[in-house]
Amino acid sequence: MEIAPKEEILLPVKPGFIALSLFSAFLLNLLPLGSFIEWIRPDFVAMLLLYWCIRQPLRVGIGTSWVFGILVDVADGTLLGEHALAYSLMAFIALVLRRRVSMLSLDHQFTHVTLILLIMQAVIVLTGFVAKDIFVGWAYFLGSLTAGLLWPGLTYLLKLPQRPKPDPDRI
């Protein structure tokens, strides 16, 4: 297995940036889209929570994920606790696997991230199946594949503010 050539040296993350990124993801989730895009749209909140659970486990963990799950539940009109349960389980898996995932190169991260998000969605589907006796169909899981594909872009974007300036002496 390939291992990322070298760990970048990054500036510490500002807590405000984490909060901002999570709320932007929540806004993206609320964006009303056409029914086709709706199927392939990734769950941005889950992606961001997963990212920060891997990068900043002391700042974002199971509790934060649970709170955002409740917010998503209210916004989506799902049963209260459905996303909260799935997100907290996802955060737990991320916390357990985080060293492993952050060591991997980006293309290997794809499989891990997609799998974790698929497990998260499976929890939601299962809860819905138990509570309402409806199976939503396999197309529901497409969102996780899109999320996996978008992962490298997200990683790049979220690391930008922490990149040190090329030469600290030159302002």
Partner: protein
């Protein structure tokens, strides 16, 4: 006793157990009881500004397409609307005459005149993302005096029912939702039934009709008004297929909604009409003469 050098609170496993139990508690109480309605309303009000912000790009796009619309299309639409207006007016005149006659007849029969319930026009903001139910959110809520349980219709027929009212929005459960029964009546022969959504498709299921029921494809189903929520006589669905397989206890009847359940943006919310008339008092038994103190 062991001291941890870097104490970080409870371990992830403990936290996961705690939050899982909390989620399960919420899930069960939300699915079976209504304790959490205030909590949900509170959170919904808090995130309402964010929802409006998320709506902005779509509204902007709509405004731009309105702005760039050509004059010819406007003229065409105008002539069409004028023609329709004329036709509608003719129909309205006929309707008024019939209504007058109807009122008169009702008076003759001693029935109470049917009150036209007040209605509020609302616009659909977005479909909810919940894959397990069919709901939309409209832009009128408590501030427009929307009442929970009101019927929602469009120009063709019934769309659904108000499920929950928030301060500025309300959630509407569509008739295609699996948990949404609507009492209906076959227009042709007055047969009463209850129609349910399939949940997964845009179709409806007429349940509990015996195999020899007189229902044919193409029959129009209208609300029967028996639930006291939907005014009687609103079109709901047309029958598509009738499957009389003797293997099952009931015939399987699939229907298609008449209203543009997934198409239109403007809907009409009807306030629940006048309360049901009091039951006709049966012949009163003679009261025994009062005894003792009052």
């Amino acid at each position: 006793m062991e001291h941890e050098l870097f104490s970080r609170g409870p371990s992830p496993a403990v936290r996961l157990t705690f939050f899982t139990l909390l989620s399960l508690l919420l899930l069960v109480s939300d699915a079976h009881y209504s304790y959490l309605k205030t909590l949900r309303t509170g959170i919904a009000t808090a995130i309402y500004p964010l929802q409006r912000i998320a709506m902005m790009p779509v509204e902007l796009l709509g405004a731009m397409s309105d702005y760039t619309r050509t004059q010819s299309s406007l003229v065409k639409e105008n002539t069409f609307l004028q023609k329709q207006n004329l036709e509608d007016r003719a129909a309205l005149l006929r309707y008024r005459a019939i209504q007058q006659e109807n009122d008169h007849l009702r008076q003759l029969f001693g029935a109470r005149a049917r009150v036209n319930s007040p209605s509020v026009m609302a616009e659909i903001l977005y479909d909810e993302r919940d894959p397990f139910s069919r709901k939309v959110v409209v832009d009128k809520g408590l501030q427009a005096h929307i009442i929970e349980g009101s019927a929602v219709i469009d120009n063709a027929g019934v769309i659904g029912q108000v499920l929950q009212v928030y301060p500025f929005t309300s959630e509407i459960s569509l008739i295609t939702d699996k948990d949404h029964p609507t009492p209906v009546q076959v227009l042709r022969n007055g047969l009463r039934a209850v129609i349910f959504g399939f949940g997964s498709s845009n179709l409806l299921d007429l349940k509990y009709m015996s195999l020899n029921t007189d229902i044919r494809p193409g029959d129009l189903l209208v609300t029967s008004g028996l639930d006291g929520t939907f005014p009687a006589g609103l079109p709901v669905a047309t029958v598509v297929t009738v499957d009389r397989n003797p293997v099952y206890a009931f015939s399987r009847i699939t229907c298609k909604p008449v209203a543009g359940v997934n198409r239109y943006r403007q809907v009409l919310i009807l306030a629940p009409g006048a309360p049901l008339p009091p039951p006709i008092p049966a012949a009163k038994p003679e009261l025994p003469p009062a005894r003792g103190k009052k």
